[in-house]
């Protein structure tokens, strides 16, 4: 690809098929397949050791997979060296070359592509302007703040118009305010350039706000992949349910299957649920876990239908809402985020409270809750 070709406002699609990476006995990634559309923003989300970084390193060309293939823009790059893939990448630590000025850092990839000095300086200036750092070119990297350095790294990664931008936890070294500012900056660049972005993070809020689709990884496998609302509203399994956002897990037994399944909770009440609540298909008598988001739980009066009696353990004031932590008779902890401060004003640790859950807020999974 000619480096000084006019800006093409489209990224490349990435097809990863059956990717596996083993380091000796350890399997870092297994059966990893995903189709990333051109111009899509995909986040790889998972706890440390989930294999998300290995996937990114395989796309970048720093790791060669044990099995499977990676195609970028239809071209098989599985074993292509990193310097011939023409990808942009932003690392966790800024990795600006400390011996080069900001402008020379941004011009570095153009220099590698044989662009003449005046031309590459002109284009580096333009790229710095895109990340709102025009005029900073003559400074040395260590004269910039962390956020500015990361923006320079971003400019350096896009100055040669790669069709794919890889980001390895690029914001984790920044403080909260800067991080949010950079999130918006990256989103803006993504929509401006139409570039395909693969973004690795362990911060679920970051993944949910930034990405078109989020892939949740655990132990080297995709647990669920989908748009943010789907992941939050309808987690495919108990891991995703617990990993994305806060969740209450209520163990019980399926009393009846069918159109209106019902469950008998260990915590006391029996609930009748809509058929859509069933994520898995357990049979009657099997142990199940009912999940519900704390913000869907509300305070009910004694004797309300389906209410779970809990002993209040703590009432935590958290600004917009109050977090009530209660423990049911069976020992299950239940959390409720209540928006009205007044209704919990006189609840003290040790008091009894009755928590109500709307049936449509409940999702049902087979199996036992992981402690």
């Amino acid at each position: 690809m000619k480096a000084d070709a006019p800006r093409v406002a489209s990224g490349a699609n990435i097809t990863i098929d059956g990717l596996a990476k083993r380091f000796g006995q350890v399997t870092a990634v297994d059966h990893f397949s995903v189709d990333i559309a051109a111009g899509e923003f995909l986040a790889l989300l998972g706890p440390s050791g989930s294999g998300k970084t290995t996937v990114l390193m395989s796309i970048a060309g720093f790791e060669f997979p044990t099995e499977g293939s990676i195609r970028i823009g239809g071209e098989d790059v599985t074993y292509t060296p990193a310097n011939r893939r023409n990808l942009g990448m932003v690392f966790q630590k800024y990795t600006l070359f400390p011996h080069l000025s900001v402008l020379d850092n941004v011009a570095f990839p153009l220099k590698m592509r044989g662009v003449s000095k005046p031309e590459r300086h002109k284009r580096a200036e333009a790229a710095l302007a895109t990340v709102r750092l025009a005029g900073y070119g003559s400074r040395m990297p260590n004269q910039l703040s962390g956020g500015q350095q990361q923006r320079v790294a971003l400019a350096r990664a896009i100055v040669y118009h790669p069709r794919v931008l890889l980001m390895d936890e690029p914001l984790s070294a920044l403080d909260k305010n800067l991080r949010e500012e950079m999130q918006l900056e990256i989103k803006r660049l993504h929509s401006e350039l139409g570039i395909t972005v693969v973004f690795v993070t362990h911060d679920q809020a970051e993944a949910l706000t930034m990405a078109n689709r989020v892939a949740v990884l655990k132990d080297g496998r995709i647990q669920q992949i989908g748009p943010a609302p789907e992941l939050y509203e309808r987690p495919a399994n108990l891991f995703t349910a617990g990993f994305i956002g806060e969740m209450n897990f209520l163990p019980g037994r399926l009393a009846a299957a069918g159109k209106t399944p019902s469950i008998k909770l260990d915590a006391g009440p029996e609930w009748r649920l809509p058929a859509a609540a069933l994520i898995d298909t357990p049979s009657p008598g099997q142990s199940v876990v009912a999940t519900v988001r704390p913000e869907r739980v509300s305070l009910g009066s004694e004797g309300a239908a389906g209410a779970i009696p809990v002993r209040v353990q703590d009432v935590v004031y958290a600004g917009a809402a109050v977090l009530l932590i209660g423990v049911a008779d069976c020992g299950t902890e239940l959390r409720a985020r209540l928006s009205g401060v007044s209704e919990v004003a006189d609840l003290r640790p040790g008091d009894m409270a009755h928590l109500v859950v709307p049936p449509e807020a409940v999702l049902l999974y087979a199996g036992a809750a992981a402690a």
């Binding site: 630590k93 070359f97 570095f108 990839p109 590698m112």
Partner: protein
């Protein structure tokens, strides 16, 4: 040296109180003075005092005069010795750098047993005496030594070549003896370069060799510089190797000084030679240290 530059004390007791003040995190000025005292006493006793004494001899004996320095400058033989010493030091520094960089680079890439092996090869000779290493070269380079045997076996020469007692022998042996002083600083500098820089260079389109040239090499320059200073300054005053392996017709300054002291017993003149060498060494050290600080400023290190 902020301790000594502190504001002048109003009273002696006030000064003492200030010296003994400690904020619990840092030791008091008095504490650090006491801790440093043994070192400075030792340096004063074994280094500063003798050299001041020697330099005093160069201008005070036989009577207060600069004649000794005049002799150093007027007789071209001595200027030649000085120039030769400088040239050999430059040559040795260049060769040491040439051979040490790859070794240091290999050390950063090596792991486990290989790293231990390379480190041992670098450090074991370093820990053994210079005399032993020089003697080893004398054995290798002698008339019927391994090198001459090898040359004849390969048919490069029909009879033994004179290797020992030449400038070449001195340069080879000094390069070997001084290599650890070059390898270790370069290794330190290379090891401090995060592998992420090389990854970044690769993803930005640099081939391995290009990434080395554009990123690794410039970032390792502080190590190269400090290694070069160490080797160059050590080489300037090197005595054992030139004395044992060198040609008496092609003396270096340290051997000349020794000869003046032990054979002609001309202490004032030897002292003047030392004075000139000291001046050179100090000048070069000052110039180099400015250069190094300049490099740090350019971001070689955090």
């Amino acid at each position: 040296m902020s301790i000594f530059a502190a504001t002048p004390p109003a009273t002696a007791s006030g000064a003492l109180a200030r010296l003994m003040r400690s904020d619990g995190r840092r030791i008091s000025s008095l504490g650090s003075l006491l801790l440093m005292a043994p070192f400075f006493l030792l340096m004063g006793f074994v280094f500063v005092w003798p050299i001041v004494n020697l330099l005093a001899i160069s201008v005070l004996e036989p009577q207060p005069t600069f004649d000794n320095y005049g002799r150093v400058l007027s007789n071209p033989v001595y200027a030649l010795v000085l120039m030769r010493t400088l040239w050999i030091a430059v040559l040795v520094t260049g060769l040491t750098l040439l051979f040490s960089y790859p070794v240091a680079y290999a050390m950063t890439r090596a792991k486990g047993p290989t790293l231990v092996l390379i480190t041992a090869c670098v450090l074991l000779p370093f820990w053994s005496s210079v005399l032993v290493r020089t003697a080893a070269w004398a054995v290798l380079l002698q008339r019927n030594g391994l090198v001459n045997q090898g040359l004849q076996w390969f048919g490069l020469t029909s009879e033994p070549v004179r290797l020992l007692y030449t400038q070449g022998a001195v340069v080879v042996a000094m390069t070997h003896v001084l290599m650890p002083f070059m390898i270790l600083p370069i290794y330190g500098a290379l090891r401090n370069i995060s592998p992420d820089y090389m990854r970044a260079a690769a993803v930005l389109g640099a081939s391995r060799s290009r990434a080395f040239r554009e990123v690794m090499l410039p970032l390792s320059l502080p190590g190269v510089l400090s290694g070069s200073i160490l080797v160059f300054l050590t080489a300037l005053g090197f005595f054992v190797t030139p004395a044992l392996l060198g040609s008496p017709q092609e003396m270096m300054i340290a051997t000349l000084v020794s000869q003046q002291i032990r054979e002609t017993l001309d202490w004032p003149f030897a002292a003047a030679l030392v004075g000139v060498l000291t001046l050179f060494v100090s000048l070069i050290a000052v110039i180099f240290s400015k250069a190094v600080r300049f490099d740090r400023l350019m971001g070689g290190r955090e």
